[in-house]
Subunit: 133 residues, 10 copies
Amino acid sequence: MENKHYDRPFTVDTADVITSDLLEPIEYAYKSKRSIDIKITQPEYTSVCPMTGLPDNGTIIIEYRPDAHLVELKSLKYYLMQYRNVGMFYEHVVNKILDDMVSVINPLYMKVTGEFTPRGGISSVGSAEYIKP
Amino acid sequence: MENKHYDRPFTVDTADVITSDLLEPIEYAYKSKRSIDIKITQPEYTSVCPMTGLPDNGTIIIEYRPDAHLVELKSLKYYLMQYRNVGMFYEHVVNKILDDMVSVINPLYMKVTGEFTPRGGISSVGSAEYIKP
Amino acid sequence: MENKHYDRPFTVDTADVITSDLLEPIEYAYKSKRSIDIKITQPEYTSVCPMTGLPDNGTIIIEYRPDAHLVELKSLKYYLMQYRNVGMFYEHVVNKILDDMVSVINPLYMKVTGEFTPRGGISSVGSAEYIKP
Amino acid sequence: MENKHYDRPFTVDTADVITSDLLEPIEYAYKSKRSIDIKITQPEYTSVCPMTGLPDNGTIIIEYRPDAHLVELKSLKYYLMQYRNVGMFYEHVVNKILDDMVSVINPLYMKVTGEFTPRGGISSVGSAEYIKP
Amino acid sequence: MENKHYDRPFTVDTADVITSDLLEPIEYAYKSKRSIDIKITQPEYTSVCPMTGLPDNGTIIIEYRPDAHLVELKSLKYYLMQYRNVGMFYEHVVNKILDDMVSVINPLYMKVTGEFTPRGGISSVGSAEYIKP
Amino acid sequence: MENKHYDRPFTVDTADVITSDLLEPIEYAYKSKRSIDIKITQPEYTSVCPMTGLPDNGTIIIEYRPDAHLVELKSLKYYLMQYRNVGMFYEHVVNKILDDMVSVINPLYMKVTGEFTPRGGISSVGSAEYIKP
Amino acid sequence: MENKHYDRPFTVDTADVITSDLLEPIEYAYKSKRSIDIKITQPEYTSVCPMTGLPDNGTIIIEYRPDAHLVELKSLKYYLMQYRNVGMFYEHVVNKILDDMVSVINPLYMKVTGEFTPRGGISSVGSAEYIKP
Amino acid sequence: MENKHYDRPFTVDTADVITSDLLEPIEYAYKSKRSIDIKITQPEYTSVCPMTGLPDNGTIIIEYRPDAHLVELKSLKYYLMQYRNVGMFYEHVVNKILDDMVSVINPLYMKVTGEFTPRGGISSVGSAEYIKP
Amino acid sequence: MENKHYDRPFTVDTADVITSDLLEPIEYAYKSKRSIDIKITQPEYTSVCPMTGLPDNGTIIIEYRPDAHLVELKSLKYYLMQYRNVGMFYEHVVNKILDDMVSVINPLYMKVTGEFTPRGGISSVGSAEYIKP
Amino acid sequence: MENKHYDRPFTVDTADVITSDLLEPIEYAYKSKRSIDIKITQPEYTSVCPMTGLPDNGTIIIEYRPDAHLVELKSLKYYLMQYRNVGMFYEHVVNKILDDMVSVINPLYMKVTGEFTPRGGISSVGSAEYIKP
Ligand SMILES: [Ca+2]
Ligand SMILES: [Ca+2]
Ligand SMILES: [Ca+2]
Ligand SMILES: [Ca+2]
Ligand SMILES: [Ca+2]
Ligand SMILES: [Ca+2]
Ligand SMILES: [Ca+2]
Ligand SMILES: [Ca+2]
Ligand SMILES: [Ca+2]
Ligand SMILES: [Ca+2]
Ligand SMILES: [Ca+2]
Ligand SMILES: [Ca+2]
Ligand SMILES: [Ca+2]
Ligand SMILES: [Ca+2]
Ligand SMILES: [Ca+2]
Ligand SMILES: [Ca+2]
């Protein structure tokens, strides 16, 4: 019962290929009147498991309450696409997305959740939160 | 791999074509006894994305606690139909519906939510709240 | 594009055909020991829209915490059947059911909810509450 | 363990109140080119059980292949509304709808199905077919 | 439109055929360390309606936080089977199961819920709670 | 690891308590015009497993094409209730229901299906058919 | 009980604003080897009901077996967007889409289905087929 | 990015530990009248993957038409339990179950299907058939 | 109605074959910045019922808030696989997994839940919690 | 309303990076006795759209009837992973997978289906078939 060895047919990048520059803020026109609760879902996220070198697939959920800026959705799509061939633990992916989003749109509140599809039968979800001091 | 250019086959309007005049209040007969929690769902909302000029589709949910007036449902249907060819960010649509509804029926509480169908795989939801001072 | 006129093929009654006499209380045998939380669902409710004269269909949900009496379910079925050809706004139906139920079984707590099926794409839900003073 | 008697709070009509006159045909513009398969669903049908005098609720499904005429949907809604207070076995309702529809739009093929909600735990479905000779 | 009379083809028992003796406690090995939240679901419960003499079907849910004892599941199955031909209102069934379970395993907390399938279109749910003094 | 013995808390009957006399035919008014396809579902069927003496639960589905008679639904409910405390293999239950129904309403076609809930993780479905010679 | 009159807040176009020029064929590279079965679904279709002047919403499904050409999906999106403010019966919409698609990609087989959301409780589906002679 | 090695914490058996002796036939009482279609589902099947030595989980479905014998369900449960620690490709498992069942109950027809849960994201289903010559 | 005896076709182990050594911690890189909420689900858990000697199947859910360490998922898979042939009550399994996980990754918070599939119709869920002192 | 330009953050490959060498056949042990129907599902497929350079996501389904060989599932996983950064129309992807699989395991029958997630609201499915001559 040998376990044949395969090479992954693509190159794995490190996290420094990812830049928050792709994220574009847009002005929130109702800032003077009230805030708003926003939930964005990208069910087609993919990156690479640093233990196995194999693709990880999942859903990224971003919940936030803006201050003066919203995130432009198309720019967020391109930002998340940067993780495609990067090898990172999902617990760290969730934290990095949170840090980058907070640095660009400076919200009152934000929570980032990653729901990852099963590997060896086991699925997992991680979520991290930021509250403006 | 060129990305062919298409013209949108309809004219995009601005938000000033929308009037709260279409919204009709009806008297709430039990005002002297107790209030009531109401949730209205319109899953066939459509407007236009101001970034791409393409249709946005979604569900508008209005939750409120009336004071002396309810909103008449058919008048609400015609009010929401005014957004059909208007170009607005959904975060601002949700706020404008809230402002117009509050001005017409003057409720104790109201929350407006917009759930928008996926674009580039990404879906989003926004909701804004009003509490009578 | 003319919009043909139809007459509704049945007579619409007013709310005074409805009597709370049909509701029968039964004794709650465990009153001395503890109360109980009860939720009753009638998904086959129908009445008539007073704006259009057309049938309204929906689900009536009654949640309560009895004091000394329960409502007998078959008597509740006949009570709700009285609304079949009555023309009332659903926000007022919910309040009238609550008033009639409270007068007959005198509960510690009661909430009545009406969930109405879509009209012109729009669905709505209303719920009113009573707490024994 | 007595089984209390209740009177139904509305009058039950017989089938002769129903007229196929309410059904309006509209011209099928592509008759010369090809036919089309159509399926219409009315999930809010109600009539009265002739055994118990109690409301029957269900879904009426009409599938057909038109020849020269389609049925106008609003006229069909008013036609079906005529059964609201009529006492008929559902197996006969399905046949009567089929006869009336065939007489008005004269299709190449038609099937009428009635799906009735549970009574005493038991639900039932009946369907009858017509093929143009 | 006569409503034919049928005799129920089985004998209805009274509540005194039910004994809590069938319930068997087992020792909770982690009592000294921490408690645990347990939820048991029996979706195949049946008893008899005392108004109509007809079977009632439903789901019994038992949620508890043990002190020194757990309930053995097979003994619970046989305990609940005792209600099969007993005529009791479900609001009283829920209270009796709670009393019997508390007397045998003496928990820190327990809640018993009965969800009953529709009769005449109407379904209902009842739940009662116990907190160790 | 002993497997404690329990006695079933009710008496198990044999199949001869079941009589087809409870089944009532009603006239099919459209016999001269066309037949109809009927499907009846009783999801609250119960009988007893002859191997273990424990309740079996399941759904009985009767599909048929009548000749001159339909089965009256309330009579069918009482007929099926006769199996409540009878010990029979489900493969034989399905055949007995088919034989009794055929003898009373003499259909053009009939199929009886029993879908039984899991025992020891294993669920099973059986169905038998009759075609009028 | 008057039925207030509303004007639709947008202009309704006629079918001649729609051109099949927007549809772009792409070459099917495996034509010499085998054909392929393709099913395309656009759940965000909208046009206008010519009876009421109100929006119709639905899903357009195109199933085909190409000969030498496929349809490019982005061009199909822009083609279908042309119906947004056009007033047509859905039975005719389905036929027009079929005619336009067949003229541009000349398939071995094609079926167009339109599933329309409920109006007055009634939903409907229509589908038309083409087979290459 | 090393891939740590783990040893499986149980012994893997070969297929010869499995005996069809555990399967018990029971007589089919209606053999002289008609056959019956039976479908048995065991959703808690488990065996071991011979490539990786890891557990495989899935659902085994057995569909058959008996001649003179049925399979007793509890005996089938014990028969299937024999595969728990056996290392076999699922395509061969399905064939072995089919051979063993056919040898014991000699049916007119039998089909065995195995639906296996995802491994590395990939799920698979296999089914083999037997028809009595 | 005898209840045939079967021998379980595999050996049942005791809990001392299980070692927490298989669980591998990995460093949580964002410890200095913020914690994270993690939920891991293994729906393919199996062990053995100590009352019957038969397999128990279920889902193990681990929710935690790490301090300095995460659990490596593949190591968790192998850890849980150790229970495959062990005979333990599920209420004790949940506690043992919690103790072992806490000893290895020392989290701020952890909750372990076991959802077990039905036996004799009855399913059950148990969950235990740990909060860092 | 400008439409900002983004560059895709990864390199797109052409189809010649894909080799069928990764697919490993395994012997079908029951070839002499009977064939088997197999259905394999990979819901985590991804490649790149050659029109937009953006990721396409979908499910690949392979249904086949083997002759002398099965495909080893882990080798299939690595084979499909080769498409990750390749730019191909999905209609051609389905054909290429079919060609490669047929060349390696030479089945009696095979069908490959690709179900692709929505782009611009539009989803599509394609499937191609092979029958051994
Ligand atoms: Ca930027
Ligand atoms: Ca991983
Ligand atoms: Ca106004
Ligand atoms: Ca947009
Ligand atoms: Ca009274
Ligand atoms: Ca007419
Ligand atoms: Ca009836
Ligand atoms: Ca005892
Ligand atoms: Ca009789
Ligand atoms: Ca059994
Ligand atoms: Ca063109
Ligand atoms: Ca319309
Ligand atoms: Ca034997
Ligand atoms: Ca495997
Ligand atoms: Ca270790
Ligand atoms: Ca090779």
